[in-house]
Amino acid sequence: MASNLVIPYLANPTHFLLLTLSWLSAVWCFAQWKRTNTVPWAYLHLGLFLLPFVHFATQIQCDMEIVPAIMIMCTDYLTRIGLFMLPLVIGLTLFIGYAIFPRLYVFSHRATRAANRVYDHAAAAAAINAPLYVFDGQEPKAFTIFNRVFASVGVFDLLTRKEQEAVFLHELGHIASGANIQKLSRWILTLFSPLALFTSRHTAPEEEAADAFAARIQGTTKHLASARRKIRAYHHHLQPNQN
């Protein structure tokens, strides 16, 4: 049935040209995104990749040989779904990613917004306005979800103030570099674009950039290094038969 719809569509030279140009442009945008790490290229790539599908949806006519159930849908619903699919799905994913996901994390980790001198000092030094959320957990753990920094009680319990500051600056470094937006964009591409197979999931460069950000503000790497040693030691002790 799919070939009954696709072959007549592609037989039209205009449609074929549209498909070829769209996908070639999509590949070019993808390459630009990989080269520059600029997020709009990722979404442009996605738009161009999905454009032929949307166009295809608008071209489906009821006189095509398709099953009756789809014939009922095709003129009204399928066309509309096809037309609105691209902005709707991407918009919804972005909304979930930006607005729902961070709130979900606050809820699932039972995190509470906290005022902390060390964090406030780090945020002021980094010139970043991002709230701190503290969650219950002995394991020293910190991460960012968009413009929110999350830290476990263990961070305060086990690390010295300078080490805490280094950890917070590292996390604020992720916010400064927009690493979370990059991550979300990669995730969206994984869902909608086959070229996502060529995206690297290697986060080492992002981590190195965040480390450099912290070191630049603190003027040394020793606090971050000792915080990392303590976190590693904690994980080492988590292994069975280590105590």
Binding site: Q138, L158, R161, A233, H237, Q242
Partner: protein
Amino acid sequence: MKAHIANFNNILSPLEKDILDILWKRKSCRVREIHGVLKTKRAVALSSIAVLLDRLHHKNIVARTIETARGGMRYVYSPTHDQKGFEKSVVENAVNKLIERFGTVAVTYFEQRFNHGK
């Protein structure tokens, strides 16, 4: 008088036992305080004590509350039972497990055992 010395070797690691001893004695402690006491006796890392306290907390052997201080937040740990209460809960747990596993066989055994004891 040492009428009853419980052997927790199969239940707790030596370090866990030391941590509990401190908590039973002091009622409540921070991780760093326990570390301060233990490091005078043996080479032990702060993170090691934190891991063990977390495990004991998940086993419901110790409770913890968050205390907000100048340096941020920290946990204050306290034992959920005193030493006697803990021993009792260990015995209770073991008996419950035996009954759960062997059912009437275990109950009959205990009955015979107690009757012989009389």
